[in-house]
């Protein structure tokens, strides 16, 4: 089983006058796992359902390889899908659930039995196949849903929040397992999630959505190191990036009494400065006062009140509350955004 490339061209979806998705262009490589990341109502699930064939796009085209599919019924698209609620058929046993897609394709009975058995073993649910969904654990239901999606060896695997109904511990395990499985069989996959940790950990590339628009489509590293705009900057990364509104002028950024030297020349005007909590160090020229210290385990998240802004930073040890404190940030690690929130790239000198 080998995946195929998926291409979305000028795809949009309107419900009445409400735009769920505005013109989206996206290229997904064969065998790649792409995550659609964003808060609820950002259009990520709508896009997935259009790829699956549940929704008809209002405009645009969807290609699976060279085949144009947006007008096809889901059954003619060769996709497998796992839903958030797993959507197993409650009146059928796991075996019947997993066998269903094959039986619909009129695959011979002995072949169905063999494939169901094989897929179930692969996912470690071979011993509960005779039970109904209500009588197995959440993790087993999730695997059964995955088995049902994979058993017909689809060209594209669609995962809609497949992990969000699992306990935290199983979730971490399932995350790695799905990724390993996906790489083993090489099926092109799309994962919809609102959990950035999940998206960054599992996907080759991540498409970040907000209010019906694609914000950035890049590798997890790129997304973290060079967020394209303030939305991505604030959404990706935990704890989130500090975003401070202020003014760029004369090679410096000013927000009230806060003044920082910029790493490169920037057109003057108002804008936003971003700095990640992990890029800020204790002991430095920016004067402030500790207002809150939260232990995260390995590190302490410290909230520092400076004259111009409230800044969150990660420290190794817990500072004294209310004490005056100095912090520093490496100018090279600053993120600069213009008035519209777009990243300002350093100009070649």
């Amino acid at each position: 089983m080998k995946g195929i490339a998926v291409r979305l061209e000028g795809l949009s979806k309107y419900f009445g006058r409400v735009a769920a998705l505005r013109t989206l262009d996206l290229d997904i490589h064969a065998g790649e796992m792409v995550a659609f990341l964003g808060p609820s109502g950002c259009g990520k699930t709508t896009t997935l359902l259009m790829v699956a064939g549940i929704y008809q796009p209002s405009s645009g085209a969807i290609y699976f390889g060279e085949r144009r599919v947006e007008h096809l019924h889901p059954r003619d698209r060769d996709v497998g899908m796992v839903f958030q609620s797993y959507a197993l058929y409650p009146h059928l046993t796991l075996l019947e659930n997993i066998a269903f897609p094959l039986r619909l394709k009129r695959v011979p009975a002995d072949e169905v039995a063999a494939k169901v058995r094989q897929t179930a073993e692969l996912l470690g649910i071979g011993h509960v196949l005779e039970r109904r969904p209500a009588h197995v654990s959440g993790g087993q239901q999730q695997r059964a849903a995955l088995a049902r999606a994979l058993v017909k060896e689809p060209q594209v695997l669609l995962l809609d929040e497949p992990l969000s109904n699992l306990d935290a511990q199983i979730r971490l395990h399932a995350r790695g397992e799905i990724r390993r499985l996906q790489q083993d069989i090489g099926v092109t996959s799309v994962l919809v999630t609102h959990d950035q940790a999940e998206a960054l950990a599992m996907a080759d590339r991540v498409a970040v959505f907000s209010v019906g628009e694609l914000q950035q489509f890049a590798s997890p590293d790129e997304l973290y190191a060079r967020p394209a705009n303030t939305f991505v900057a604030g959404f990706v990364g935990h704890p989130p990036m500090n975003l401070i509104a202020g003014t760029f002028a004369d090679g410096a950024f000013t927000a009230g009494p806060l003044r920082l030297t910029l790493p490169y020349r920037v057109p003057p005007g108002s804008g936003t400065l971003g700095m990640r909590p992990e890029d800020i160090a204790l002991g430095g020229p920016i004067a402030g006062r500790v207002v809150l210290a939260e232990t995260l385990g390995r590190e302490v998240l410290v909230t520092v009140e400076t004259g111009g802004a409230t800044i969150k930073m990660l420290a190794d040890s817990r500072p004294v509350g209310g004490a005056p404190i100095g912090i520093a940030v490496d100018p090279a690690r600053l993120h600069l955004f213009d008035r519209e929130g777009r990243r300002i790239v350093a100009q070649a000198a």
């Binding site: 059954r75 899908m81 839903f83 609620s85 959507a87 058929y89 009146h91 897609p101 049902r148 669609l158």
Partner: protein, 274 residues
């Protein structure tokens, strides 16, 4: 058995008091059917089978009882089957699909449900005459089933509304057409609703009187209700036989209630469980 708290004992007493007239009616029917003669609720002659002679002979020129019995049976079963199938298909469409006029149709169904059917009887009579269905079992079946549909559609819509959308999406992705999905996924999952509606319409059709009484005139096509009524219109009414026929007519209903009460309760619970 644990004793009821005083407040409930009071409620129980009131309920028992209110139920006495109904209970008395049933007791009267039982006694009058069994004993040759009853004064009030007191039998004054020994029990006899004379009242039950309608079972083995045609009484007073009427056809033997198996004729109306069979008619009623066919009537009730066919009405129930039509109602269950048509109502579930209509309800599925209303619950799951968006089409022009859906809201209007929903409102219309609700209004029709509240509409007193008897007020239509003249019009129905006329329409059946024109269609050549007057004085046929088919005609009454169609009328009874149609009048029961609004309630059935609303009932089934409630059951279909409870099904998860994601499951239907999964079925589509798995390769089902809307039609297979309806039969293989949706219908099995609303089984409690189908059984409830089936039992309910079966009972309602079994007890139907006005429609068969007005729309069927031939005595060999009569239903049990008209057959029973025919004993009441004689110059001298033999209450013994009326009670016996009444008992005979009631027994299948009691049996069905005992079998189907679990499903009937679902009408009011209105949910899919398990």
């Amino acid at each position: 058995m644990p004793l009821l708290p005083p407040r409930w004992r009071l409620v129980l007493a009131v309920l028992l008091l209110v139920s006495i007239p109904i209970a008395a009616g049933v007791v009267w029917m039982g006694l009058t059917g069994i004993f040759d003669r009853v004064h009030g609720l007191v039998p004054v002659r020994p029990p006899s089978l004379d009242n039950w002679r309608f079972i083995w002979e045609g009484v007073g020129g009427r056809p033997p009882v198996h004729v109306p019995l069979l008619n009623s049976f066919v009537f009730a079963v066919v009405v129930a089957v039509i109602e269950v199938f048509v109502a579930s298909m209509a309800a599925y469409a209303i619950s799951r699909m968006s089409f022009p006029g859906r809201r209007f149709y929903l409102g219309l169904v609700l209004v029709l449900h509240a509409f007193p059917a008897v007020s239509l009887i003249i019009a129905i009579f006329y329409i059946l005459r024109v269609m050549g269905l007057f004085d046929t079992l088919t005609g009454v079946i169609l009328v009874k089933a149609s009048l029961g549909l609004p309630l059935g559609i609303w009932l089934m819509k409630g059951f279909f509304d409870n099904l998860s959308w994601e499951m239907e999406m999964a079925a589509l992705v798995d390769g089902m057409s809307r039609w297979t999905l309806f039969w293989k996924i949706a219908m099995p999952l609303v089984r409690p609703g189908l059984l409830a509606l089936g039992t309910f319409s079966l009972l309602s059709a079994w007890g139907e009187f006005i429609l068969p009484f007005t729309l069927i005139v031939s005595s060999n096509k009569a239903l049990m209700s008209s057959y029973l009524q025919s004993f009441l219109t004689e110059a001298f009414t033999d209450f013994g036989i009326v009670a016996a026929v009444g008992l005979f007519y009631t027994l299948p209903v009691v049996a069905l209630y005992l079998l189907g009460q679990r499903y009937l309760l679902n009408i009011y619970g209105g949910g899919v469980k398990g």
